[in-house]
Subunit: 344 residues, 2 copies
C-alpha cells in the first residue's frame, strides 16, 4: 500500500471547518491502496497569540517532508494586517518556491454569476508566485513623520518569468482552445513590462499552435465582466494575478467556489493547495461555510500528485452537486454529499 504524506494547516476561522470536508473527500477519492498520512500543523492567529510565532523554522523543516500541503485559511482581525500573510502564507510560497500560482476561473452550470446573460466562463489564471511586488523589498524613511517616504520594489527576473510563462504555454497548448493572454501594464511599468513581453514572445516560438494576445491589466478587468468567454489561459505577475483572480472568483459565483494551487512543479518542495477565500471570522464555527473551494483545491492537489482520474472524479462530483444545489446546507452536509458522489 502506498501512502500520501499530507501536511494540513487548517488555520483560522472557517479554515478548520472547510479543511475537514476537504479531507473527507480526499479520502473518498483516493484509490483504496493509498493511505493518507495527515499531520496537522497548528499555525495562524491562535499560535501567533500564544507564542508570537508565525512559522517556526522547525515547522518549515517538517513541512518539507510531505508530498503536499492543504491549507484552509489564515487571518484574524486581532492580528495586525500583514503579520500572518507575510510571516506564514507568503513565507511558505517563497520558501517552497511556489512559482506557479494556479487559479481556475470556471462558471459551473447551475451557479449564478453576478453578470447578466449567463456567460460561459472557463479559463485559468497562471499567476507568478515568487516575484513582483510581493518580494517584500521596500522600506520607509522618516517613519511616522509628515516627511515619511515609503517604497515598494517590484523585482522581476528573466528566470522567474520564463518558467511561469512556459508553464502557462504548456497549459494553453493542452487545452482545446489553445489561447494564452499575457496581462501586464507594460505601457507604464516599462522595465518589468518589457521583460515580461520579451519573454512571452520568445517562449511563444516553442508553441506555434498557441494563439496569443496581450492586455493591460486595467483593460483585462473590463473584459472579465463584459466578455469573460474570451479568456482561455492567462499568465500574469503576482500582484495583477492577485487582483484578477479575486475578480475571476466574483464573476464565477464567488470566492466560496474558487480553488488555488501554489505549485512548485520541480517537486523539490511540497506544493500547497488552498481555497482563495479568507478565514471569514464572522461566520466561523457556525457550520455555514461552503467547503466547495477547498474540495476543488483537493482536486488540484490530486491532479498535481498524478491522481488524474481521481481529480476528475472530484471535480465531476462538485459539478453535479452545484448543478442540483437547492436550499441551504451546512458545511458538513455539502462535504457528505460530495463524498457520496465521489464514492458512488
Amino acid at each position: 500500500s502506498r501512502s500520501l504524506r499530507l501536511a494540513v494547516i487548517p488555520g483560522d476561522g472557517i479554515g478548520q471547518e472547510v479543511v475537514a470536508e476537504g479531507l473527507k473527500v480526499l479520502g473518498a477519492a483516493l484509490p483504496a491502496d493509498v493511505k493518507v498520512e495527515a499531520t496537522e500543523y497548528d499555525l495562524g492567529a491562535r499560535r501567533y497569540h500564544r507564542t508570537g510565532e508565525t512559522l517556526p523554522d522547525s515547522v518549515l523543516e517538517e513541512l518539507k517532508g510531505h508530498d503536499a500541503i492543504l491549507l484552509g485559511a489564515i487571518g484574524d482581525p486581532s492580528v495586525p494586517s500583514g503579520v500572518l500573510e507575510r510571516g506564514l502564507l507568503l513565507k511558505l510560497r517563497f520558501a517552497f518556491d511556489h512559482h506557479i500560482n494556479l487559479r481556475p476561473g470556471k462558471l459551473f452550470p447551475g451557479v449564478k454569476s453576478p453578470l447578466a446573460g449567463e456567460p460561459e466562463i472557463d479559463f485559468v489564471v497562471v499567476r507568478e508566485g515568487t516575484e513582483g511586488p510581493y518580494v517584500g523589498n521596500g522600506g520607509t524613511l522618516r517613519t511616522g513623520t509628515e516627511h515619511e517616504v515609503a517604497t515598494e520594489v517590484s523585482l522581476n527576473t528573466a528566470y522567474g518569468i520564463e518558467r511561469v510563462v512556459r508553464d502557462a504555454y504548456r497549459r494553453a497548448d493542452a487545452r482545446p482552445r489553445k489561447k494564452l493572454t499575457l496581462v501586464h501594464k507594460n505601457n507604464v511599468l516599462v522595465h518589468a513590462g518589457h521583460l515580461w513581453t520579451r519573454i512571452f514572445q520568445q517562449v511563444g516560438q516553442e508553441f506555434p499552435e498557441v494563439t496569443t494576445d496581450y492586455l493591460h491589466v486595467d483593460a483585462a478587468t473590463i473584459f472579465f465582466v463584459t466578455q469573460p468567454e474570451r479568456f482561455d489561459v492567462i499568465v500574469t505577475d503576482n500582484l495583477f494575478g492577485d487582483i484578477l483572480t479575486d475578480l475571476a472568483a466574483a464573476v464565477t459565483g464567488g470566492i466560496g467556489l474558487a480553488a488555488s494551487g501554489n505549485i512548485n512543479p520541480s517537486g523539490d518542495f511540497p506544493s500547497m493547495f488552498e481555497p482563495v477565500h479568507g478565514s471569514a471570522p464572522d461566520i466561523a464555527g457556525q457550520g455555514k461555510a461552503d467547503p466547495t473551494a477547498t474540495v476543488l483545491s483537493v482536486a488540484m492537489l490530486l491532479e498535481h500528485l498524478g491522481f488524474t482520474a481521481e481529480a476528475a472524479k472530484v471535480e465531476a462530483a462538485v459539478a453535479a452537486d452545484l448543478a442540483e444545489r437547492a436550499g441551504v446546507r451546512s458545511t458538513s452536509q455539502v462535504g457528505d454529499a460530495l463524498v457520496a458522489r465521489v464514492s458512488g
Copy 2:
C-alpha cells in the same frame, strides 16, 4: 466679456471626433459672456512619427498659460507601448502635478450594466495621480539576456498621500452618504500600505461625520461586481486606481461613458480633463465613437473652473439623453442632441 483659455489636445484615433463634440457642448453650456479661446495642440502618434517628439518643452510651457486642458485620446499601435503614455500623458500629469485623478463611477438610468439585477451605482474614485508605481523609477540589469532583472519602484510620500486623502475626505463630507473607503494592499505592500493607512486615519480625525472603511484591492474588485452600491467615495493609489476605474467604467456601462479629471486643486497649473477610453483606432474616422465620456469630462472641467450650474446642466443633458437613447447615432448626432438639451 470673460474668456476661458482652453488648450485642446485631440490626440489620436477617435480623440479628434469626440473632442469636437465636447467643444460644441462646452460652448453651448457656458454663459453668453464667456468666450472660449481654444488653442489646439497637435500631439500624439502623428506628431511623434513626423518629428520624434512626444511633448516638446516649448509646448509644455505654452500649455501652462491655459485655464484647463481638454484631451481626447492618445495612442496608436504604430507607436511602441509606453512611448506616448509616458512621454505625453503621464508627463503632463506629473509636470502639472495632477495629484487628484478624479473618476466618477455612475450608472445612469437607461444604461445597461453587464451586472445582473440593475444595481444602483454612484461612487467616485479619487485616484492619486503623481506617485506610486507610476513614478517611472526602475530599471534593468543584464538587459536582453537570460539573466535580466527588472525593477519597478513604487514611491509614496506622506505629503503626496495626505493631500489626496484630504481631498477625498472633503468630497465624501460633501456627499449625502459621507462614506470613504480606502483601497490598498496593506497586508503585502506593508511599507506603502501602512503609510496610506496611517494618514487615512490621521486625516479622518478632521472629518468626524465621514464613515470610513478599508478594503484590500483584490476584495474591492469583488465588491465592484457583487455590491457596487456599497461605495460612495474611494481613495486609492495610482495603480490600484487605474485598475479599479476601468472596472468601474465597465460596470457602469462601459468606457464609452467614463469621464476623468486630472486635477491640480492649487490652480498653479492647468488641470486636464479626458475620457477614460483610448484612441480606438479600429473605429476611428467613422463617426461611430460615443462622445459622451468627453462631454462628461467637459462637465468636470466646468465644475473645476467654478461653473457649477453649467456643469450640472451638462450632466443633466447627458442623463436625459442616456435615459431616452434609442437606436444607433453618429458621434455628431449625439453631440448635437446634447447641445440642444444644454441650450434648450
